[in-house]
């Protein structure tokens, strides 16, 4: 599966992803963002009066089929999604900017801020990767993954150096 998400899918990832997850975990997910199928309804509103587009036509956040990905079907403008739940971390709300018929920017207006979540959630443009400032977590894990590469070369080099140094 190619993971180049359609624009709607991207919004779903950012906004709906949390809502979907929240809906599956919690009955307190914000009703406004989650329909009966648990899918996000990120119907947007135009906040830029010069944009000339409407949210209904824009389809931002419409989790339609990936086949729609190939055609530019979005009207230029700035669209603000509804507040979605990112329980237990709080709420999340994004603003999408469409330029040239394509999603060019996603701003996170409201970000999850509860315990356990880092405070600089943001999104890049293409592809929609999520960013955050790293934050030290509790150490109660079973296993740790890090770039612990083998140190054999170091040891060998040191041994040879010490061999030369020995009297």
């Amino acid at each position: 599966m190619n993971k180049k998400f359609l624009v709607g899918g991207i919004i779903v990832v950012l906004l709906g992803g949390y809502a979907l997850w929240a809906a599956s975990r919690s009955s307190t997910a914000t009703p406004a963002t989650t329909n009966q199928n648990g899918q996000t309804s990120a119907s947007s509103e135009t906040t830029n009066p010069n944009a000339g587009g409407t949210a209904q036509d824009g389809g931002v956040g419409d989790s339609s089929s990936p086949a729609d990905n190939n055609t530019a079907q979005y009207k230029d403008g700035t669209y603000t999604g509804k507040v979605g739940s990112a329980a237990p971390y709080g709420n999340v709300q994004v603003k999408a900017t469409i330029s040239g018929g394509k999603l060019t920017k996603v701003d996170v207006l409201t970000k999850p801020s509860g315990p356990g979540y880092t405070d600089q959630l943001s999104a890049q443009t293409f592809p929609l990767l999520v960013q955050e400032a790293i934050k030290v977590q509790g150490s109660g894990v079973h296993i740790v993954s890090g770039a612990t590469q083998d140190s054999e070369g170091f040891q060998q080099s040191l041994a040879s150096a010490l061999a030369q140094a020995s009297i």
């Binding site: 190619n2 894990v141 040891q155």
Partner: protein
Amino acid sequence: MKETRAIMGMPITVEVVDEHASQHMLEEVFSYFTRIDEQFSTYKETSEISKLNRKEIAELSDEMHEVLMLAEKTKQETKGYFNIKKLDGTLDPSGIVKGWAINNAADLLMHCGATNFYIEAGGDIQTHGTAADGAQWSVGIKNPFNKNEIVKVIYPRGRGVATSGSYERGSHIYNPHSPTDILSDIISITVVGPNVLEADRFATAAFAMGRAGVQFIEQLAGFEAYSIDKDGIATMTSNFFTLTV
């Protein structure tokens, strides 16, 4: 039952939490790693890889053949970013042997009857089943700026985890397309894949890609990644969050 030994120049930890876990299981795994080290270590003059690099052997073992084929496959799948051929022309398959060996060792453990375990070698991990308390195995991503801290907790649920980075040995990975570049922007990238072999080979390549690495992983079905740059900003694939719950 849990034990750590230093093999292949790195700590290798095996924990089996099944009631019928036995020392025999652990010995099987450690013996396997020791054998692979004898065969693939470029630091051992008698290893098969060293003999191959000195052009002293004409016929490859099945294992060497498999590893070299995997390396070539990975090279093609990563636009040449994964390349076991060093600047001096010799082959160093250590970038793939670790994940490959962990994966095989996990199969070995299952063959011995283990169902709930993990194997961790040099920061690369394969889990299977659950932890002792029935909880999902949890994996902490090490803080590249302080190795005693973790900055993210994930639950791989049987998938493989591998981290590639520059912070413990200096820049041990270079960009084969521009060998003199110092990869200083991205400090580490953790890749979760279908198993530890898949995670390891793509983590190595993604790290060599620098900032583009996490975008490369984004395109791969079944993979997620979490990269950390020199400013302490993490960039993750769009579905990475599913691993954190």
